[in-house]
């Protein structure tokens, strides 16, 4: 019987893909099998549009203990017997439909990815994008998402230490909610998401399986949800308490001799988790689907296989050694059920009440089609890049008024009103709290520490996906370097529009090329990733938003520095540039141009060699104890960066050079590769030597001190006024 278009739409498979399934099976698929294909060939699980591109990314490093791709995430050696794994995952569409639960289960999902590796989750970050907050629905989404992250993260006892939030109308109606989790593992105790030998049992632990989240991966995540009038039932409901207990039980279970594999049950539920385990183990699998404990009666095998009920994990357990596993999970009041057995062979065989309802080769299911495309640069982009920035009118307001507006922008103002709703102290490792360029965590039992950050400027990526993504990598690393940490690994969260359109194909191709080029230049691997496509708002693709998560290593965590200025009389120095103020080209894609002039245009630039040398000098100066503060110049340019360091440090600053006629470009331009440090005047010549040896330009800008800010002859402002704009800007912009 030919399948109806309605059925194919429900599982987001194309007619061509359906034909390919018939071709591979040599027959029409059963409805259950079609569900399996829909899930595993979804963009979310099968990476149809990104697999070929992602393969080009650097994935090797001396520090890698487990290669990316071999397991759910690569594992990076930190020394002292410690290793770390981390990953970003998106929950954009669920959050657009049901912001609180969408965001909460996004956090829950990424945590499972990490403890499935045998790692104890030690930090959460989140990278969020919304439409402008003057819209009531956007504020509803914003409050729901923050509430969901707060509710799940706080209950589970993992500190939420950082991330970013950015507002632009491009994300109106299609917010981006990306969560990152970092886990710590004792070197050598990594878990594998696979079975060891035929006969190993497949055990489901944690929550019962219900009808929630069916078609989450295929329906919500893999096409434009705006087509769907009502997809709320495809959003799952999270239970952080259950997950907290599940973390403890699963990590404890890895010490049992019979537990050989651990896998998280996320998108596409048992289907994806069990079948990927079989693939990784190179074995067949017999699933007895009627053994799965259910929340409600009358569920079909189709529903059980595709349910995305949260807080479930799969274990591979040696036959005959399951007794202690049952005991352990009972101690934690958790269900544990044998639902299958790995076996010799190639097929996943599904049994319901003793009857085989499906038998399909594993490889047929997991080897999703791969779409290759070459992007063509659209003319509209060339036009935007060629815009004449010098035609930007100089504002009639005073420079002080513009600075205050910039500081109060929801894209720049302090994020304290958000992160004070997240527990960032639990586990007592937080050395640098949220609010700086990167969070710094100590590693108990070692002198070492890690720094973590996320970064991506969608505006810049829109104007040049290749350079923009390279800048995202550079800035994610710069955020680490300004604390003193050496970048050692990256993860990516790709958020793009509809990959079936030429523009998005161009953006994807260019963006991943830029990411690879930048990661290569830094010499660090991308250890994990996630792709969320079909992000569209009111029929328009979002800005390409390849979020980069970065992780850095501090050999001595005590030597880190923070962003705030420290003492009267210290010299303010900029590394990476030889003159204080920026030129007109720096306005490309800047916050100033967008906020004040309502324009997103210009050609972003990055000198990669300069970037790497500048970061190295900054780290070196911190390591040698020469500088007291470090802060990246980014959104809002130099004037905003100096003001932030002053406000965070609670002390004024005076910059000597006059910004000149184009004071707007000078003070608010966002040319890359610039870092602000402060130091005692005695250390200035030492820092100059370091910069000179590495051929890094630098300039002494002025001094720290007093209770006001002054920028040449342009701005003199009481620090209290800047403090008020920056600290209260966010609450004012998001007030009902």
């Amino acid at each position: 019987m030919p399948v109806t278009q309605e059925t194919l739409d429900e599982i987001a498979l194309s007619r061509d893909e359906y034909e390919a399934i018939i071709d591979r099976l040599g027959r029409e698929p059963e409805p259950l099998e079609l569900g399996l294909f829909g899930a595993l060939w979804s963009e979310h699980c099968g990476y149809k549009h990104t697999k070929a591109l992602l393969r080009t990314l650097p994935s090797s490093s001396d520090r890698l203990l487990v290669a990316p791709g071999a397991e759910n995430a690569g594992v990076v050696d930190l020394g002292d017997g410690l290793a770390v794994c981390f990953k970003i995952e998106s929950h954009n569409h669920p959050s657009a439909v049901e912001p609180f639960e969408g965001a909460a289960t996004g956090v829950g999902g990424i945590i499972r990815d990490i403890f499935a590796m045998g790692a104890r989750p030690i930090a959460l970050l989140n990278s969020l994008r919304f439409g402008q907050p003057d819209d009531a629905r956007t504020r509803y989404l914003l409050n729901g998402v923050i509430g969901g992250i707060s509710s799940y993260g706080n209950c589970i006892g993992i500190p939420d230490v950082g991330g970013e939030i950015f507002f632009s109308d491009t994300y109106k109606g299609n917010p981006l909610v990306n969560a990152m989790c970092v886990g710590l593992i004792e070197n050598g105790k990594m878990a594998s998401a696979s079975a060891k030998e035929p006969g190993d049992l497949l055990m489901l632990v944690g929550a019962d399986t219900g009808r929630d989240g069916i078609h989450g991966a295929s329906g919500l995540a893999s096409r434009s949800f705006e087509e769907q009038a009502e997809m709320r039932s495809a959003v799952q409901v999270g239970n952080p308490f259950l997950e907290k207990v599940l973390i403890e039980a699963c990590i404890e279970s890895l010490d049992l001799p019979g537990v050989v594999g651990l896998q998280d049950c996320g998108a596409a539920g048992i289907t994806s988790a069990a079948i990927e385990m079989a693939e990784r183990s190179g074995m067949g699998l017999k699933l007895t689907i009627d053994d799965v404990p259910r929340r409600e009666e009358g569920m079909t095998p189709y529903e059980v296989m595709l349910s995305e009920s949260q807080e479930r994990m799969l274990l591979a357990v040696t036959h005959g050694m399951e007794g202690p596993v049952f005991d352990l999970f009972e101690k934690w009041d958790l269900d544990a059920t044998v639902i299958g057995e790995f076996e010799l062979g190639e097929n996943v065989r599904i049994y319901d009440e003793g009857v085989e309802v499906s038998s399909t080769p594993v490889i047929t299911l997991t080897d999703a089609p791969e779409y290759k495309f070459a992007g063509v640069k659209p003319q509209w982009l060339t036009d935007l890049q060629n815009a004449d920035l010098s035609a930007t009118p100089i504002p009639s307001e005073s420079p002080s008024e513009i600075l205050l507006k910039m500081l109060a922008s929801p894209n720049i103002a302090s994020r304290f009103p958000i992160y004070r709703q997240y527990d960032y102290h639990v586990q007592t490792n937080t050395v640098v709290e949220p609010g700086g360029d990167a969070a710094v965590l100590r590693l108990k039992g070692s002198k070492r520490g890690i720094a973590v950050s996320t970064d991506c400027n969608g505006r810049i990526c829109y104007l040049d996906p290749e350079i923009g993504t390279a800048i995202a990598v550079a800035e994610a690393c710069r955020n680490l370097s300004v604390t003193g940490a050496l970048p050692v690994a990256l993860t990516d969260g790709l958020n793009f529009g509809n990959p079936e359109t030429p523009d998005v194909q161009f953006q994807l191709t260019e963006s991943i090329a830029g990411m690879g080029r930048a990661a290569d230049a830094f010499g660090i691997p991308i250890v994990s990733g996630n792709a969320s496509l079909y992000n569209q708002s009111q029929g328009t693709d979002i800005f390409p938003t390849p979020i980069i998560g970065s992780l850095g290593l501090l050999k001595d965590v005590e030597k880190h520095v923070t962003a705030g200025f420290k003492s009267d009389g210290d010299v303010i120095i900029m590394l990476g540039a030889d003159s204080a103020w920026d030129d007109i080209d720096g306005l490309a894609g800047s916050e100033y141009l967008d906020l004040i002039h309502g324009k997103v245009e210009g050609q972003p630039k990055l000198d990669m060699d300069l970037e790497i040398r500048t970061q190295a000098v900054c780290r070196d100066a911190i390591e040698k104890g020469l500088v007291k503060s470090g802060h990246d110049v980014s959104d809002g340019g130099l004037a905003v960066a100096i003001t932030e360091s002053a406000v965070i440090g609670g002390i004024g600053a005076s910059i000597t050079a006059a910004p000149g006629e184009r004071w707007d470009a000078a003070m608010f331009g966002e040319t890359q590769s610039r870092i602000i440090v402060s130091a005692t005047s005695e250390n200035l010549s030492e820092i100059e030597k370091l910069a000179q040896v590495s051929n890094v330009p630098m300039v002494a800008l002025g001094t720290v001190g007093g209770e006001s800010l002054s920028f040449g002859d342009s701005i003199t402002l009481p620090l209290a006024d800047a403090d008020d704009a920056w600290k209260n800007g966010f609450s004012r912009a998001t007030a009902d």
Binding site: N154, P240, L242, K244, V245, Q421, T428
Partner: protein
């Protein structure tokens, strides 16, 4: 001396507490599972922070029925020192070991911030190494820390010196503006009449080392150690 740290399913501050009293202050410490009932080997009990049993129904409302809480009650009845932190404070109130209730923060949001706690009573076994009027810089992290009780109870608590900590500014000024959750009289921590059971919302175990922002929390554990070791000698 030996601390017993109670672990309910959903507790998350037990390791931080262990690190503070054992890792930093060098005392013996063991975890006590919520089903355990034998507490005789411990010199002091800590009910740490977290979301016991998911805090379903109401914070601490399910934990009070656990076997270990019956044992904690007996331990306290015999004069044993018990401190409840955050969720532990909520459990002590739900169990009736301390008076009053902890309601939702008045602004309805979760709050994770550093607070300055004014020491109102330095004669307790939990604060004897502090000085009355001094402030302790200790973080809080809760959605339900708004301490309330009826007028008579508050009068009694205030009259007996049972209010141990109040939210204040760094200089020790107790003002409505500095109150982070709506607690009556800015109350952050109280003690029972007998002086052996204390509850507080902020987390002293999260302020155990300068590297993580400060070590004022140790004042509380050090006071306990000093007083308990003295009685053991």
């Amino acid at each position: 001396m030996k601390f017993g740290i109670v672990v309910f399913p959903g507790t998350w501050s037990e390791k931080d507490t262990h690190h503070a009293v054992n890792g930093v202050l060098g005392q013996d410490a063991e975890y006590i599972w919520h089903g355990d009932e034998a507490l005789d080997q411990y010199d002091a009990i800590v009910l740490p922070g977290g979301f016991s049993y998911g805090d379903f129904l109401r914070c601490g409302a399910i934990a009070r029925f656990s076997p270990v809480m019956e044992a904690v009650r007996n331990f306290a009845d015999k004069g044993g020192p018990v401190v409840g932190i955050c969720n532990g404070f909520q459990v002590l109130c739900e169990s009736g070991l301390l008076p009053g209730v902890l309601m939702r923060n008045d602004h309805l949001e979760f709050r994770c911030i550093w607070t300055d706690l004014k020491v109102e009573n330095d004669t307790t076994m939990f604060t004897s190494t502090a000085t009355k009027g001094q402030t302790l810089h200790i973080p809080m992290s809760h959605g339900e820390g708004n301490y309330q009780a009826d007028e008579a109870t508050i009068e009694k608590l205030e009259g007996n010196g049972q209010v141990v900590f109040r939210y204040a500014d760094a200089a020790g000024n107790v003002t409505p503006e500095i109150n982070p959750n709506g607690s009556i009289n800015n109350i952050a921590g109280i003690i029972n009449e007998r002086g052996n059971v204390m509850g507080m919302m902020p987390h002293p175990e999260k302020a155990s080392e300068k590297l993580i922002g400060g070590d004022d929390g140790n004042v509380i554990f050090k006071s306990m150690i000093e007083n308990i070791v003295a009685t053991l000698a």
